[in-house]
């Protein structure tokens, strides 16, 4: 046995080397750094105000209570918020994928007329933003303010996602498209029957990107929507949190007083409630996710 091998053997404990143990410990510490705050959020959402005041860094409350969740769900607005978000997601996600994939496909083809100019226009919007007032004026002139469509349309196209997808499409062999063309397929047929079936990783990734953006979106809804019953989940949660911590000096002081509760508990409960659906959704796309980001990010 060589000296090198002997040295390696000396640091081996069972099947693992010393380096494995060090890495194991480092990874556990890193995992705890992520998990502890998460656990703390859940613990606070289940704690009473007094318990939280006594020990804000708790990992689990001594006397768990569902009061914060009860207060959140007793408020019918939460379900309305979920429903509105689902509506935005159900319409917005396919629309986003359609708009993004069609443009990405067009711009990924070498012979597409005006490709460079159109790509420049797209890129320009990433660097220079028109601002919220022009956007509002556009929506107003389309008579879309106060409608869920304003939120859907504003979030339905991302230049960044389009570039990711375009790069992925550019990596697909041109010969595939050419042979499809020889078989009489048009560009739409090529996109839907040849390109998209081969683009599962990037489609999964972009689906996740758009899905998370629609789920977590609040700004567009805040700007464009006017009715309480139209607000999506994130805006509803924000309203509930703001109300629960309203300073009782405000106008309707007695009413505000009756609404005030353990605001931190409600805040943490709302964080958890809004996180759960995304947490359920993520593992289904995870296997495609890392691959999709990498392949889309590297121009081949």
């Amino acid at each position: 046995m060589s000296t090198h091998a002997e040295k390696r053997h000396k640091y081996r404990v069972g099947k693992m080397t010393l380096l494995d143990y060090i890495m194991f410990i480092v990874l556990i510490v890193l995992a705890l750094i992520i998990l502890i705050p998460f656990l703390n959020v859940i613990a606070i959402s289940l704690a009473s105000q007094k318990e939280y005041a006594d020990n804000p860094m708790m990992l689990w409350p001594k006397h768990p209570t569902l009061d914060a969740y009860r207060a959140l769900f007793e408020d019918g607005r939460l379900l309305t918020g979920f429903w509105n978000t689902i509506k935005i997601l159900v319409v917005g996600l396919p629309l986003s994928l359609f708009l993004t994939s069609t443009m990405a496909y067009g711009l990924s083809r070498n012979k597409f007329p005006g490709k460079k100019f159109i790509f420049f226009l797209v890129l320009f919007t990433m660097i220079f933003n028109g601002g919220i007032v022009p956007l509002y004026l556009v929506m107003k002139s389309l008579h879309l303010t106060g409608s869920l469509w304003s939120v859907i349309l504003v979030g339905s196209f991302s230049a960044f996602n389009m570039i990711l997808m375009m790069n992925y499409f550019q990596g697909l062999p041109e010969s595939l498209m050419e042979s499809a063309r020889l078989d009489g397929a048009g560009e739409w047929r090529i996109l839907f029957s040849v390109v998209l079936p081969l683009a599962a990783p990037i489609m999964a990734t972009i689906t996740l990107f758009y899905g998370v953006a629609f789920w977590n979106g609040w700004y567009d809804a805040m700007i464009f929507l006017r009715k309480a019953e139209m607000l999506p989940l994130q805006n509803v949660l924000r309203t509930i949190i703001v109300e629960s911590s309203t300073n009782v000096s405000n106008a309707a002081s007695v009413d505000a007083l009756n609404k005030s509760g353990f605001s931190t508990g409600m805040k943490m409960a709302s964080v958890f409630v809004s996180m759960v659906p995304i947490m359920c959704f993520f593992p289904m796309l995870q296997k495609h996710f890392a691959k999709g980001v990498l392949t889309g990010a590297i121009k081949t």
Partner: protein, 532 residues
């Protein structure tokens, strides 16, 4: 041409167009009509009025009896627009600038923006005779002070500043509600500390020292003698000794007719020295300057480990404290809490004179004459005693009645509030709820009486030898880049100063010097415009 090839893209375009048009082309059902009344005095024509407020009106809420009463009485149909608290300024700014303002909206008044909006014609100008036509609104408007000042600047009425107090103003002059503290009266008795209505800062520090020494609650290291956040310390230690130490009154006109910067006054140094003493003696928590929101008061009302906290002067605060102590400590706060105001170490009372307005009502520049008049009729009624009782107590005989002492008493079942029965009563467009809170039986009478007592005491001490920072309209309505740049986070600046090592006075002088590049331009501007 290959029609199959064309079919899919055309379908996609057509679908998109249909989606847009179907949703976009909402019918504009806004009605037009006059304000003629029939023989019974009812409005003949129904008007659809869009209103934007921060009260959340959920789906179906407008069907309840309360809202129907208002809609029937004034023959209106509401198009209610909800503005969330946290997006209020941004949303209104967008609506105003894009010409999309609802007929009437509640706006968090910003003077610089107001002047720009008036210049650009973005706000409705009231008719010249509006004060004669709606006298109740005009009376409440007069009390705000701001309305008249703005008329001098713009030559007309463009907004209705909302009065905080109207019929139930607790004291004159009106002093800011801040500067009321709560102390544990059981501990005060245990350590032999006298209960009074007003204490000097040093007396309160002495009380905290006694509690720390004798520990009447047997709390050991958990005891927090003075549970103040940095902002509380600014209010109850520094402002109590220097009325111009806060952002609201930092720039003021002195007796010499020139403008000064309050944080550079020697009185501010006196306050800082007392604050540092409290910190060094361990009376303030070692990390008090990191506390946010309720962390200071929670030690008192949730954990029961503090001897003193900053409460504020509203009766609703006192009721909230009672609710918290009952819920978390299982005790009645009436047995444990004493409220008082804080004096400077020279025995003088200091606070801020409070303007009697908060936010404002604005009207769309495109509103029709009929709609404007109908809204003003609604506001005028809402400011009458009958309107106020309806808004705050519900229907007489059904939701409330007068008792034998002619005091209103609620007829709602125990534990039910008017908000439960009639949610989102946004029709009280004009006068703020603070006014009615002075007489509202939903707040315990003892708390209301004590709040008014302390308001009166503040007004008396403030005007009889005290030092109230007057609300200087010139400074408040002056807007410039230099002024916005010279706005500091004073509570944190002061906390930093008392935490620094070395001599406090030397550090304070150095700090004052370091701010001069931003402060002096403001002083120069104010002196050139308003100094004698």
């Amino acid at each position: 041409m290959n029609t199959k090839k064309l079919f899919k893209p055309l379908l996609a375009v057509a679908l998109s167009a249909v989606m847009l048009t179907v949703t976009a082309c909402g019918k504009d059902t806004a009605s037009s009509g006059g304000n003629e009344k029939d023989a019974d005095g009812n409005y003949k024509d129904k008007l659809k009025i869009s209103v934007a407020q921060t009260t959340e009106v959920k789906d179906g809420v407008l069907d309840n009896e309360f809202h129907k009463y208002w809609m029937d009485k004034f023959n209106v149909e509401w198009d209610y627009n909800y503005v969330q608290w946290d997006s209020w300024p941004e949303k209104l700014r967008l609506w105003i600038n894009s010409g999309d303002l609802p007929d009437v909206a509640s706006w968090n008044y910003v003077h610089g923006d107001f002047m720009n909006y008036v210049d650009q014609g973005l706000l409705y100008k009231f008719p010249d005779d509006w004060k004669e036509r709606w006298p109740n609104v005009a009376a409440a408007y007069k009390l705000t002070g701001l309305g008249d000042k703005l008329e001098e600047l713009t030559g007309g009425t463009y907004i209705l500043p909302k009065p905080v107090y109207y019929q139930n103003k607790p004291a004159d002059p009106l002093v800011n509600q801040i500067g009321v503290i709560a102390i544990r009266k059981d501990w005060a008795k245990a350590v032999g500390f006298e209960l009074k209505d007003a204490y000097t800062t040093s007396e309160l520090i002495h009380y905290a020292e006694l509690v720390k020494e004798k520990d009447p609650g047997k709390l050991g290291s958990k005891l927090v003698p003075i549970s103040y956040t940095a902002d509380d310390a600014l209010t109850n230690i520094i402002m109590a000794n220097s009325e111009h130490s806060r952002v609201e009154s930092a720039f003021y006109k002195g007796e010499d007719g020139k403008f000064h910067w309050g944080p550079a006054d020697p009185e501010t140094l006196t306050g800082l020295k007392l604050m540092q003493k409290a910190y060094k003696e361990g009376l303030l928590n070692p990390e008090f300057y990191t506390w946010k929101n309720n962390e200071g008061s929670d030690n008192f009302r949730v954990k029961g480990v503090a001897a003193m906290m900053s409460l504020g002067g509203l009766a609703s605060y006192r009721q909230d404290m009672d609710k918290n102590m009952q819920k978390n400590l299982g005790v009645s706060s009436d047995d444990l809490v004493h409220t008082a105001i804080v004096l400077g170490d020279d025995g003088k009372y200091r606070n801020l004179e409070q303007p009697n307005f908060w936010s404002a009502l604005i009207f769309s520049p495109n509103i029709s004459k009929e709609k404007f008049e109908r809204i003003m009729d609604i506001i005028d009624y809402s400011t009458t005693k009958e309107g106020q009782m309806l808004l705050n107590m519900g229907f007489e005989g059904k939701d409330w009645k007068y008792d034998e002492n002619k005091e209103p008493v609620s007829l709602l079942p125990e534990g039910t509030t008017l908000e439960d029965k009639y949610p989102a009563r946004f029709e009280g467009l004009y006068i703020l709820g603070d006014d009615f809170s002075i007489v509202n039986p939903a707040i315990k009478k003892e708390y209301r009486d004590r709040a008014v007592e302390l308001f009166k005491e503040k007004a008396k001490l403030g005007s009889e030898g005290g030092k109230l920072a007057t609300y200087d309209w010139d400074v408040q309505l002056y807007d410039s880049k230099a002024k916005s740049q010279a706005s500091f986070d004073y509570q944190n600046e002061y906390a930093n100063l008392i935490l620094q090592g070395g001599d406090l006075e030397a550090n304070w002088k150095k700090w004052v010097q370091s701010k001069q590049s931003l402060v002096q331009p403001v002083l120069d501007e104010l002196n050139s415009k308003f100094a004698k």
